[in-house]
Amino acid sequence: MSAVTSTGASGPVLRIRDLEVSYSRRGRRQTALHRVNLDIRAGECHGLVGESGSGKSTLSLAIMRHLSSGGQVDSGAVELAGDDLLKMDSAALRDWRGRRVAMVYQDPAKALNPSMRIGEQMGEIYRYHFGTGRQEALTRAEAMLRRVAFDNPADILSRFPHQLSGGQQQRIVIAMALAADPELLILDEPTTGLDATVEAEVLALLETLRAEASRAILFISHNLGLIGRMCERVTVLYSGRVVEQGPTGDVLQRPKHPYAAALLGCVPHFGIEKDTHPLVPIPGSPPALGALPVGCVFAPRCANRQPRCMESEPELATVGVGHVSRCYYPDAVAPPMWDQPLAASVSEKTRSHPIEPRSPLLAVRGLSKAYGKQIACDSIDLDIQPGEVLGLVGESGSGKSTLARMIAGLSSADSGDVLLKGAPLDRDVARRGRAQLRAVQMVFQSPDSSLNRRHTARFILRRAVSALGGARSAEQLAALVRVPPELLYSRAGRLSGGQKQRIATARAFAGDPELVICDEPVSSLDVSVQAAVLNLLVELQEREKVSYLFISHDLAVVRYLADRIAVMYLGQIVDIGPADEVFSAPYHPYTAALLAAIPKLGGPKFRSGSATVLPRRSDGDRMGAGCRFSPRCPHSIKGKCDLVPPPWQALSDRHQVRCHLTRDELIERQQVAFEATPVVPMEVGIQPM
């Protein structure tokens, strides 16, 4: 916009040259960013990827000059339209922050002041940066809210942040970031932690905004699918170094650095399955800042390591048009897995261990739970076969975790039964016998809180073995999850996230379980660790012949692991069937919406998001007598869907959906709906984590 024109269309808006940033730790300086170069042109969206600790956040903080205490820029330049950030005085710096460069963080709830109305918070920006009066500030805030697609801005301005949904909050944070019309917008994981359909709402907004203004955007994400959808160019950071930089399509399709290729290989791309495409985790872990290896920083973890890599660090070398890589052997980098031919087509694949319908291991019958007026689970019926992985997906608040906790006996059901091999399980875990306890175990979401940080790993495993009457020793369990035995003597608080989750998994296997409930077991792990833990879960499941109830909001992870999938919406199962059938046409309308919300690598870059965005869920939706999804459903039939509870429809002999539309009607309607925005689940795509 106006500010950009001053530099002319040709030069970059943001120019980072040889940026060196270090942190002081106990008197020693440790380099966090090493000679980082980065240009972003007007109108360009530049992606920044890397694992935690790679320096992504340090770079964005350095651009804002917000480095935490102990951090300092040692050398290099950060220029915005020719002005050097590092030479600015505090007055220029105030102008820089907010007015010229604005930032949107991951968690909108923390970016908004909970005690101020939206109008006051937004008005502050205009009053501070432009000196406008209170009334004009409000008028301009209202106009800005209209731009970020609020229909009723006056109403929003009078609300407090807690009265808004997560997606609305993030749109307001984006509106605030854009209020001063900054030349550079930094988006730091702007959709991480948002539900898939809410994420789609925010992404749709970002796409329209970037189409209408020619500002520079730095888009930080660990989600390669998002980067592929949003960005023209991408920079891959590892240990504070740029290891690869180039046009997004080139980097994601034909990576020229083994780290970039490895990152792509360890993310479950939508549509791949454990039987055909095992994930390839990156061995080892990133080096500590103070202990960088000699030579290439990635060499210790690189599969293609040569003697030369261990001697001197490679420089960035041109490998294509505007494409550089810090690798001696860029042409030896293997293309990402999904480019390789499938061993068997997904739909006609033959399972390595077919599951014959037997008497179910676990039968859930009419299980219900309400918290006050909020219905968390509404008469759930579910079977899990021996040796089967049942995936359970749904947005937050759909009741997935409540269902899991009721099966485990951690929270007590209001009504209904859980039968293990035909025998009822007590609703309260405290009244279950040892045989029932050992049969049903759980792996939890947060590695930090699922182990007692004061106990050693060995104590945790031994206690589980003795309490459940298992036969294995702590050492054998550690070997089972490939944790080195010397780590058993560390307190759990000292282990890394991946190690903690492995010990937590080993604990669940201490007493030879028959059903392991996995409640988002990988969603708080870094991508490379996630791949390793997922592989471990697959291996253990097959070796120990257990069943999993695998809960995740990540459709790609569930698709990767599950034999059958159940989709929950507002306390009800609305779709259940074999994994490949649930995620292929015809879909239940809600499943289709979830699938459409996944950003995919192959999709068109500037796809208008409107067709894929579901209307927001409002509190009133829940109470309707008819189909709970009907207020948001594109195919809803007035007078029928909103009044009459939908019946179960068989889409095939094993795939059932709860919908008023018949199989033929669904096929017909979804062909129309998906022609505009083709959603082919078999298409290669990446799901946010």
Partner: protein
């Protein structure tokens, strides 16, 4: 302003090195060392006063009552001619013997109650909290007079009064972190393997709230000393001829205008000890909270 938009959170550094512990933080805190030095001095005095005191604190010298501080008697003498300096040193013993015992017992009972209330919640929590509200609604002095006039003033009964009064306070402090810990998944994991409630409370949750308990113990120690001294001052605790600080201050009241040193030095002793304990307790709390 937009700078506020930008003031959210972001991970700045990977947590490659373990965080410097509480102990490392304490090592560089000067107020911690000042507090430890003062507290240490009084503990030493309580044990070693027979070696340090220039006079027998109980020996009367009727010829020189109420002598002002001099080289012969650093802190002067009291109405019976006893050396105030020696009595102040010896007065550390009753202070140090009642307060720590009362503190330890209050922490033990309070922690148990806090674990029960925080773990079970619901009606257990409601019942315990209402009982504690009732206990706390009585002022210290009323409860003390009630108990000590019924049971008679003695060291054991003073400890009992302090435990009655401090248990609810400790329980309330411990209850809050217990509630937070109870929701963590390691507790769910313990329930899933059939652990008893007592095991979960004492073997799983308790080790994770020890920091809070340690701070509470240090804070309570200061208050327990103050409470014990107050009771002595009121004549409900230590009895003559004990060199107890509170009792000494009470007895010095009658001649405070002619011989202020008789009240001043025991009071200063009490004040420095409490300040020392709270300096150390405060430093520990800051170290844990940071």
């Amino acid at each position: 302003m937009s700078a506020e938009v930008a003031s959210g959170t972001g991970t700045v550094l990977p947590d490659t090195a373990p965080q410097p512990g509480v102990l490392a933080g304490l090592a560089i805190s000067p107020s911690f060392w000042v507090g430890v030095a003062i507290t240490g001095f009084w503990i030493a005095a309580a044990i070693l006063w027979p070696l340090l005191a220039p006079y027998d604190p109980f020996k009367l010298d009727v010829l020189s009552p109420l002598a002002p501080p001099s080289l012969k008697h650093f802190f002067g003498t009291d109405e019976l001619g006893r050396d105030v300096f020696s009595r102040v040193l010896a007065g550390a013993t009753p202070a140090m013997s009642i307060a720590p015992v009362a503190t330890l017992l209050s922490i033990a009972t309070g922690t148990t109650m806090g674990l029960l209330a925080g773990y079970y919640r619901g009606w257990t929590d409601a019942l315990l909290m209402r009982v504690f509200d009732a206990v706390l609604s009585f002022p210290l002095v009323i409860t003390a007079i009630l108990v000590l006039t019924t049971l008679g003033p003695s060291r054991v009964n003073v400890v009992l009064v302090i435990v009655i009064l401090f248990t609810p306070i400790v329980a309330r402090t411990i209850r809050v972190p217990v509630m937070a810990e109870r929701d963590l998944e390691y507790v769910a994991a313990a329930r899933l393997r059939g652990e008893s409630a007592w095991y979960i409370m004492f073997a799983e949750i308790l080790p994770n709230v020890t920091a809070v308990i340690a701070v509470e113990a240090a804070v309570r120690l200061g208050y327990a000393t103050f409470a014990a001294t107050t009771l002595s001052f009121l004549g409900l605790g230590a009895q003559r001829p004990s060199p107890d600080w509170g009792l000494s201050i009470a007895l010095a009241r009658t001649h405070i205008q002619v011989a202020p040193w008789t009240a001043l030095f025991p009071a200063a002793a009490l004040a420095t000890f409490i300040v020392g304990v709270s300096l150390a307790a405060d430093a520990i709390r800051r170290g844990i909270e940071e």
